[in-house]
Amino acid sequence: MGRSPRWLRTLVILYVGLLVGVPLVFVFQRAFAHGAGALWTALQDPSMGNAIGLTIRVVLVALPVNTIVGVGAALWIVRHPSWLTRIIDRVIDVPLAISPIIIGLMLELAYAQNGWLGRPLAALGLQIIFSYPGIVLACIFVSLPLVTRQLIPLLREIGSNQEQTAASLGAGPVRIFLTITMRSILWATAYGVSLTLARILGEYGAVLIVSGNITDLTQTLTLNIGANFENYNAYQGFVGAGVLALTSVIILLLLGVARHRERKRHEHLA
């Protein structure tokens, strides 16, 4: 009953294979097109190296910030409901529905030297737009809800009985969080963090606007790929694309592990 016909299986495999599988294989094929020697040389390209360095420095700040804010926001929305959290709960997904180009434009308008926030910050000697902080800001914005939206349904489902029991037995809030809350949300958080990482590494439109795309200075890896491609250096672009594609395959594996563990935890409870 409710079987899935064989023709549908064939059709789906063909569809996903053509749409997703072929492009993925194609990226790696292009990166290896001129042999391992050429690839090794291309990997040592100084501008691409600088772009990778910048991207890593952005991840090192934006990822922890969004993890902490994401977990904090989810706990706040679920455990301390108020009119404010209800509004936030409703609009939490909005950053995901805004075009990255518009996000970049918004940040530029607010944080440029003549913007509302940019002017006072410039007076303090802080430049946001066309420099590192702007890129971090853009990456934080585009991936803001990814951790929170994984955790909200989960926190609602598990309730706070265990936490209250622990509190009545005299455990402090930090201890409760580490020994009880953290345990049940660990893999869902890992899933959200992996998605956040993917989004930060892959951000293009928003970063394109706020960074100014200055080679060796404010060019992230995605921008470097785009620039190489536009400057008729497609091979170098595909080497960068291969690096990012490899990272996203690793992220896919992380997502798979996190989903599997979360399901196991769920079954264990049931």
Binding site: W116, L201, L244
Partner: protein
């Protein structure tokens, strides 16, 4: 809260304030410029087609992932999330090369609406699959089995029982895909060739205004796009809630 204000709310307010710097009339003129209108038309058409393609293909894919079992299903399942994990610019340069002027498969889609739609279908693939999949997982076979025992054909069972149950999830997934598609940039900008009035998507038009030193025009167009995206999300959420109730 301060964090949200600094990151999201103040920039959002700055966008609106810039869009209306010269008043309503100027805003309307900038937001409905001829080039803007053709960009909206292109973006909405391609996004709509992509959302429909994904609604059908996503349903089929989710169905196979839940109700079928075969070797390599785990790989198929993992591949579905690839468009979320793969940077849009990587997808963009790949599609441009794969279906570009020197296409290795002899299929040139650069500078066409089809090319743009293919890129968007790729980027939004996971939305419907991932919203429909859990609903199929929790579906019980009882109603389907009963209908079949009473002599209903598989097609009739699907149409009268399966589809209505899944429809809210399909609408939600397709709606999210549509909203995402409307703002897509990195994956589309290469294959589209970016010809004003012909293959320039809305995000690309906004970017060209912003980089040509017209932040107010860019902000006005952006506000227009935001309003459309917001309307889509509201319509989707209302429709899917109605469908759930009706069922």
């Amino acid at each position: 809260m301060t964090f949200y204000s600094l990151v999201v709310l103040i920039p959002l307010a700055a966008l609106f304030s810039n869009a209306f710097t010269h008043g309503w009339g100027f805003f309307w003129k900038a937001a409905t410029a001829k080039e803007a209108l053709s960009a909206y038309r292109l973006t909405i058409t391609c996004s709509l087609v992509a959302a429909l393609v994904n609604a059908v293909a996503g349903l089929g894919t989710a169905w196979v992932l839940v109700r079928d079992s075969f070797k390599g299903k785990a790989i198929l399942n993992a591949l579905i999330d690839l468009p979320f994990a793969l940077p849009t610019v990587v997808a963009g340069v790949t599609f441009y090369t794969l279906y570009g002027p020197k296409s290795p498969v002899h299929l040139t889609l650069t500078g066409t609406w089809t090319g743009i739609t293919v890129a968007i279908v790729f980027v939004t693939l996971p939305f419907t699959v991932r919203s429909v999949q859990p609903v199929i997982e929790t579906m019980t076979f009882n109603a389907e089995a009963a209908a079949a025992t009473l002599g209903a054909s598989p097609w009739r069972v699907f149409r009268t029982i399966t589809l209505p149950t899944l429809l809210p999830a399909i609408v939600t997934g397709a709606g999210l895909a549509f909203a995402r598609a409307m703002g897509e940039y990195g994956s589309v900008v290469f294959i589209s060739n970016n010809l004003p009035f012909r293959t320039e998507v809305a995000s690309s038009y906004i970017y060209s205004l912003a980089s040509a030193g017209d932040p107010i025009g860019a902000a006005a167009t952006a506000v227009m796009m935001l309003v459309v995206a917001l309307c889509v999300l509201v319509v989707v959420s209302v429709t899917s809630r109605r469908l759930v109730k009706g069922h």
